[in-house]
Amino acid sequence: MDIPYTVQPRRDTGLYNAKLGIWLFLASEVMLFGALFSSYIMLRVGADIGEWPQRLLNVPIGTVNTLVLITSSVTVVLGWAALKQNNFARYRLYQTITILCAFGFVGIKSYEYYDKFTHYQVITNDGKVFDGHLIKRDKELVVLSGFEIDASKGKAHGVMEASGHGPNHKPHKEIEIKTSDIKKIGNYGPAHNTYTAIYFTLTGLHGLHVIGGALVIGYILWPGAGMWKTDPERYTNRVEVSGLFWHFVDLVWIFLFPVLYLL
């Protein structure tokens, strides 16, 4: 039995079923990310003045990732247009670029995550606060490449200094701290503060969408490509539907980038 309406639109909806399905799915996705964005707003507005970390992320790297995702979005639509012109080779070229962009995006994001997981803050027993990247950590000693934060100027000032990018940049030096002198040590992972918690939640979920989208596009592009010979219209529709998902992933990032990196 053939699955109905994979190519021809239904008379009542005016759409082939997969297209209706993807839009319903995207509607649920809007609510999923909407809930997380509203959580972000609650946390951001609820933070005491000056205590919300700003400039904690590397803007040039985030900008490059934005450009990578925008590039992948245009290659998806150009690939779909190539199929409409019966040019499978051109479609394959464009979608290969899309997959490479997806790898690029995830790679850059992984580098950013690595940077945060190796970025430490150390509070010593005498109240000093050190901030920097971990060079060495053993039973006796912790070595950071960073700087001391002037804790006497208050928590808000410390948050600003710890950001370390742009105008907050301070020269880094190697700091050795005895483990016995350490009161508290922790990296800038999700547990560091509410900002890193919402940052990892939002970008982690978005990253999973990038990986999922790339897997689907890759499946259609390689193992599933046989359908182009047997049922080209249905194949083109599959490409369109996977492309709609990919554009949604791009749309989410268009808002995530300024909200997390710039504001």
Binding site: W23, A35, L67, I70, S73, L78, A81, L263
Partner: protein
């Protein structure tokens, strides 16, 4: 997007995609440029960043996702999504100062 296109139609659409792509890059440059301008008003910075992001989102949704030329069913789905999304954000704003009486601020 309507289902049948001539070769010329597709060529025109491809040109449009390239223009949108360039516009998205320009939008990104403006967003980052505004960040480095160090505008002192937080409200203005937020408004500017979200305004540019909204234009970029409109371009992606309108042209790459073909929403400028779609069927009524999809507009219906999106209208209900917008309704619930506004409700979600409205509840967030409504609940912003809804704290238990014993909440301590510091």
């Amino acid at each position: 997007m309507s289902d049948h296109h001539s070769h010329e139609d597709i060529e025109a659409v491809k040109r449009k995609y390239i223009i949108i792509f360039l516009a998205l890059i320009v939008g990104t440059v403006f967003t980052v440029g505004a960040y480095f301008l160090e505008i002192h008003s937080v409200a203005l910075t937020v408004a500017l960043a979200l305004f540019i992001a909204s234009i970029k989102a409109f371009l992606v949704a309108g042209y790459f996702m073909h929403l400028m030329d779609e069927k009524k069913m999809i507009y219906g789905i999106l209208a209900s999504t917008v309704f619930f999304f506004i409700g979600l954000m409205g509840l967030t704003i409504w609940a912003m100062h809804d704290m238990p009486p014993t909440t301590q601020f510091h």
